[in-house]
Symmetry: C2
Subunit: 276 residues, 2 copies
């Protein structure tokens, strides 16, 4: 999915919601356990219930890998279930030396090899340029690079201050801006402190930002929009648990839709306020 | 595998070799393609041919993921094939917020859930403490944290100089030393420049270090030992391509053994020189 197509989806749906498919066998409704692939069945119903309200889906690879081969099967089927009107993001936080990153890229981008063709992948920046560039060589695919994360551990290194008086997360953005463009590169920016977006937007005024940390993880949508929105919206705001586990009964998909709809309505207001 | 058991293996085998199972379907001997699972068959024969000459095996997850569900099946079988006289390392470079890292930990450490029970996993440090700690909660398991990698991109951030006048990779080691112990934490240290080990050993005199970059990637074993070895050896030196692809014929396992034996002999010399 291109940047232009993504912007059109946001415009049509009045939403910049990303639904995180962090699907946990211990949290899905019990009746689904009778299905052959409960994880996939859950995801399928969640997707069918919400696809007109969101512009992206983001399975987190850890939740699938933890179930071994079975989990990987659920992930492949889930990838194929995401409609092409939504950006499909694999939240994998990979990154390795060049030839290995190329392998990860084909694992998630090349359907012929792996059965999966996600539009985007999250990447960890620690190993630098050659760990990121193999992903950027695929056309119409995206790298979503970790910049500032919303967890407590973000304090350990991301806020290391360089001699040049800049935080590590700022340096990551500045460097990565030279590797990719606003057409194939986004940044992960945690939402626990809205003002952080000011620092981010100094370095990446036009990039899309993927924002975790709204919903169960806390963080205010209004603040994120106030400090982070740009003229193309420029935001994908993720919600996972609050939508997925809105109900633990047979009505889980319906309740997930209600929760997604509530967020979409708030997003529509914010888009209107920004004249988008 | 405990630290003591690892040291005993090194002492017995006169080797600190780690064989990297970066197994690529395009590089293995053609006759193996007739097997039901060529990747696993290759790994099995490599392991059988080298297990008395090395103390660790390290499959790189990218090489398996790139083949989708089939690749994951090969990985699970390979994990189960590694003998318990060798440290089994999954080179996965994972790292995410706490609850997600816990999922990754069970993916690679909990056989009951995923079919795999590796002894150790490589982890990327960018997200900080809570991304690493869930792995350290497993007993007799290891985190091998990226500190200084051997690729060109290591220059981008790992050598960022903090206001405190230390490089990022030094800060990573100092922080991580407070999260784990020498019994459950190692560091990845690239071997392209032997003197780098002096900086590492300032901060981690007693830890084991996993050293890629010897063999096809360059780097001198002698230098690594000169600057990096400690009284418990303290080194696991990896070789992948030079062993795996020593021959592309039916004699691949035999030639792999010859290559591993040559490295083991050099290692035995270095251990003797160090009075180990």
């Amino acid at each position: 999915m291109t940047r232009q197509q993504l912007i059109e989806q946001i415009r049509e749906k009045r939403s910049f919601l990303c639904v995180g498919l962090d699907t946990d066998l211990n949290k899905i409704p019990e009746f689904l356990l009778d299905f052959e692939d409960p994880i996939f069945e859950f995801n399928k119903q969640i997707i069918e219930a919400t696809e007109d309200l969101c512009v992206a889906y983001k399975p987190n690879s850890a939740f699938y890998e933890t179930r071994g081969v079975k989990g990987w099967e659920s992930l492949v089927k889930t990838a194929q279930q995401i409609p092409n009107t939504c950006l499909s993001i694999i939240d994998a936080k990979r990154g390795d030396i060049g030839n290995t990153s190329a392998m990860y890229a084909s694992a998630f981008f090349d359907r012929n090899l792996s059965g999966m063709s996600f539009d985007a992948i999250t990447i960890a920046p620690y190993m630098g340029s050659d760990s990121v560039k193999p992903f950027l060589e695929f056309s119409d695919k995206w790298v979503i690079l970790l910049a500032l994360t919303s967890n407590q551990g973000s304090q350990d290194f991301q806020f290391s201050k360089d001699l040049g008086d800049e935080f590590l997360f700022e340096k990551v953005i500045q460097k990565a801006n030279t590797w990719g463009t606003i057409e194939n590169l986004m940044y992960v920016v945690g939402a626990t402190r809205g003002e952080s977006f000011l620092d981010i937007r100094k370095h990446a005024p036009d990039h899309f930002l993927l924002v975790p940390g709204v919903g169960a993880q806390g963080g205010s949508l209004e603040d994120v929009c106030k400090y982070g929105m740009n003229r193309d919206c420029g935001l994908l705001v993720n919600a996972s648990r609050s939508i997925l586990y809105a109900s633990s009964g047979k009505d889980f998909a319906e309740k997930a839709r209600e929760e997604a709809l509530a967020i979409q309505k708030e997003m529509a207001l914010q888009l209107e306020k920004a004249g988008f």
